[in-house]
Symmetry: C2
DNA sequence: CCCGAAGCTGAGCAAGCGCTTAGGGGGACG
DNA sequence: CGTCCCCCTAAGCGCTTGCTCAGCTTCGGG
């Protein structure tokens, strides 16, 4: 049983967003931002995809930037929760690291439209909103560094540069959102398994 | 001596762009695109950074998109040349792979503003221009897959999934452009060395 | 001394942008 | 039946965008 299933991080993507019209707008925005990027997406395009007039957007969201923030916040929360669930699991450090990478990568592949927005449109956020998100990302980093650190202390891993390797592992996982294509030949599960193996090699875990 | 030095891939970044005013505009565009993204950058901003009026841009470039294409073309050419030089070098597959990763990563770190534009603004290109760039990226992929394949055939590497590992290696290197910060604590050389080591682990090269 | 080409500017156009506002329609409740 | 409130739309405001164009300057060759 994976960390995601254990902790009941449900897959229904935007169930916490209400009312329904606000959710439809948010889903439309995710699609549009992922396809064209935040700055190239117009509020008219978002409203159109949601089957509404341009003005309807401003009943549910103050600005276009608030939409991006909501998406980014929820996405980062979800991804962080996946990692934490894996970190708090049982088994050796290698087990937990593999579980963390598998969940994290699978999320980035399965929800690659969302992940693309979450990971690559950070700089379009306003000052305070960006600061909040950066805080969440530091937590993400800390979780992975924690697992790797434990593995080193337990003698399971051979890692000369823990912060550097942590950075590389996260970078590798995050970049899945950029290249993953749903029409491609690999399923999210396959990519997750491949990457978990590669990461275990990176930290020198004995097989 | 590294592959870059051997083949005289000079570091002077945009020396092939003439006349000087066109080069100034291009350098200004690289900075602006890297900071704000292509769509959020205005032609007035580019011209302003180059110390010219907005209209001056259109004497040297037909459109804003042509500027992006020129940047992307030159950047991809340079990066591909680095990889090819390493691939054609001497030594074991491990030597050549490490050299390739080191050069490629160092380029992405040293010229991270350029690399950011080159790697992450691809979708802003027009139809034919994008197709041309995608062709160059396929060549890049082929070079890395070639080195890894040779290592496997020579019994140097242990890689169950060559295309998947190639993808991961390139993804890891490219993403350096996203997170690398010149004010950070790591030099491009240090990152290159760290990453070369990590990649050798990923392909199971015996030390 | 003049000329044409090349490089650049000031002014500005049409289109599209984020966002606002006045008002309509329909369900819940008295 | 009337009233209130919540969603939503049509229209459009003020501004910025990519790009154009007539005209000015600079400069090498005859």
């Amino acid at each position: 049983m994976s960390a995601a299933e254990e902790t009941g991080v449900e897959d229904a993507p935007w169930s916490e967003v209400t009312p329904e019209a606000a959710r439809r707008l948010l889903v439309a925005a995710v699609e549009a931002f992922a396809e064209r990027g935040y700055h190239a997406t117009t509020t008219r395009d978002i409203a159109g995809r949601a089957g509404m007039s341009p003005a309807a957007l401003y009943i549910h969201y103050k600005t276009k930037e608030e939409l991006l923030h909501r998406i980014s916040r929820i996405g980062h929360d979800r991804a962080l929760r996946l990692l934490e669930a894996a970190a708090e699991g049982e088994g050796t450090a290698a087990d937990r690291l593999a579980d963390a990478v598998r969940s994290f990568v699978r999320w980035h592949a399965e929800r690659h439209t969302t992940a693309r927005v979450v990971q690559y449109e950070l700089e379009a956020l306003g000052e305070e909103h960006r600061a909040e998100i950066v805080g969440l990302r530091r937590k993400t980093d800390a979780v992975v560094r924690g697992i790797i650190g434990e593995g080193v202390r337990a003698g399971e891993f051979d890692v000369p540069d823990v912060p550097g390797t942590t950075l590389a592992v996260l970078s590798l996982c995050i970049d899945v959102a950029r290249w993953f294509n749903a029409q491609g030949s690999r399923t999210p599960d396959e990519v997750g398994t491949l990457y978990a193996d590669l990461v275990l090699r990176m930290v020198g875990a004995q097989k």
